[in-house]
Amino acid sequence: MNTLPKASIKSLVISCVVSIVLAIFILLIAVLPAEFNIDPTGFGKKLGLTVLAQTDAEVEKPAVVTCPETTQSIDGQTETVEWPDSVMITVPARKGLEYKFHVNKGDKLEFVWKTDGASLYFDFHGEPQGNTTGYFKSFKESTQSESSGSLIAPFTGSHGWYWENKTNRAVIINLKTRGLYKIKGLM
């Protein structure tokens, strides 16, 4: 029933080699990075395909919603309550992120944060300005669902939290701060 023209061992071998090489190429460049996040060539990442291998919850982007706690008083003037800066930070499932403030040496950063339930691993730390060695000083490292306190910056630089969400669901943190600092935000 086969009517393939000019079938020969040579052309068969060529067909087989071509299909194997092509299949390996497609697997390495596209299928494995996109389906399994296996990316031996690094091309999958360059093409942005590895994003597909993450589950829906993981694809969720880290998000920050600023919500300064201000209230409108009756006479129309803005009255600032206790915490001038308040943000909602979404930590996607199985992801970690950093939220930083620039604080000068000796200035104070007061904070209180709380998650919407789950405990997060966190590292509250500071990196001296201009330091490129990757050095950082850790102030507090723990796994909690809330924390509060104040920091007198031991050096000028970037201070803040690294939160890691080890659960399978996105966790929202409400972080409130006051003091002398500049918000650098999500890193």
């Binding site: 023209p5 052309s11 390996i24 697997l27 299928v31």
Partner: protein, 231 residues
């Protein structure tokens, strides 16, 4: 060439007829049945749909079918081979679900991928050239049909079927699979029919089947990676 074209039209007509008839019959039947059985928790139409959708979007089954009918030009041959395939996969679909045979979906899908490679290789005359004779294609299609059925069974088992109405739901799924296969075959045969009128069909036969093998190899790699990463 003209004869081939006529044949193709004939096939399409036949399939249309069958498809319409079966669609109509099952449509009415299943609607009535759904009405009658909703209270008992059976879901004929959803399972019909799931079966049909699985086949229409099941590129592994479709690639194998393309391979099988690639060099079949006579209506009788096409119907015969497709029937063998249907017989094979229906048998193991019912057996797999009823006997609660739990197979690893990745490994079954890997065998299905292998069936595509086999058919591409066979179409390239690989077996004749290497072994001097080709394995009996009828038996091969039947045996691979059996594996495709186990693949379908694992998909159906994913739904955590309730024991009551198991048989009707399962048969609905099976009928859906055949409807889906008819729809897919219509498209494939229409396209192949047009292409077969041109000489390029034959000069590209080698390329086509090389690509078919490539598709099978990619699927094989995909399924095996899935299996090993899921361990």
């Amino acid at each position: 060439m003209n004869l081939t074209h006529k044949n193709t039209l004939y096939i399409i007509g036949l399939l249309l007829l069958f498809f319409n008839v079966s669609c109509f019959a099952h449509g009415v039947d299943s609607n009535t049945e759904q009405f009658l059985t909703t209270t008992q928790g059976s879901a004929i139409v959803p399972f019909l749909y799931i079966g049909a959708k699985h086949m229409v979007t099941g590129y592994d089954h479709l690639l194998f079918l393309v391979g099988v009918i690639f060099f079949l030009f006579r209506v009788r041959d096409i119907l015969f081979y497709v029937s063998l395939f249907t017989l094979g996969h229906s048998f193991t679909l019912l057996l797999g679900v009823l006997a609660e045979i739990n197979m690893n979906a990745y490994l079954i899908d890997a065998v299905i991928a292998f069936s595509i490679i086999y058919k591409g290789f066979d179409n390239l005359n690989g077996f004749k050239l290497l072994l001097g004779k080709e394995p009996n294609t009828k038996i091969a299609v039947l045996i691979f049909g059996l594996f495709h059925g186990f693949g379908l069974a694992t998909k159906l088992q994913d739904f955590d079927l309730p024991q009551e109405n198991l048989i009707s739901n399962m048969i609905a799924f099976n009928v859906g699979v055949e409807i889906g296969q008819c729809i897919a075959l219509l498209f494939i045969l229409t396209l192949l029919g047009f292409w077969r009128r041109h000489k390029s069909y034959f000069s590209f036969a080698k390329t086509s089947n090389t690509l078919l093998m490539t598709g099978g190899l990619v699927l094989l790699g995909y399924q095996l990676t899935g299996y090993f990463t899921s361990l």
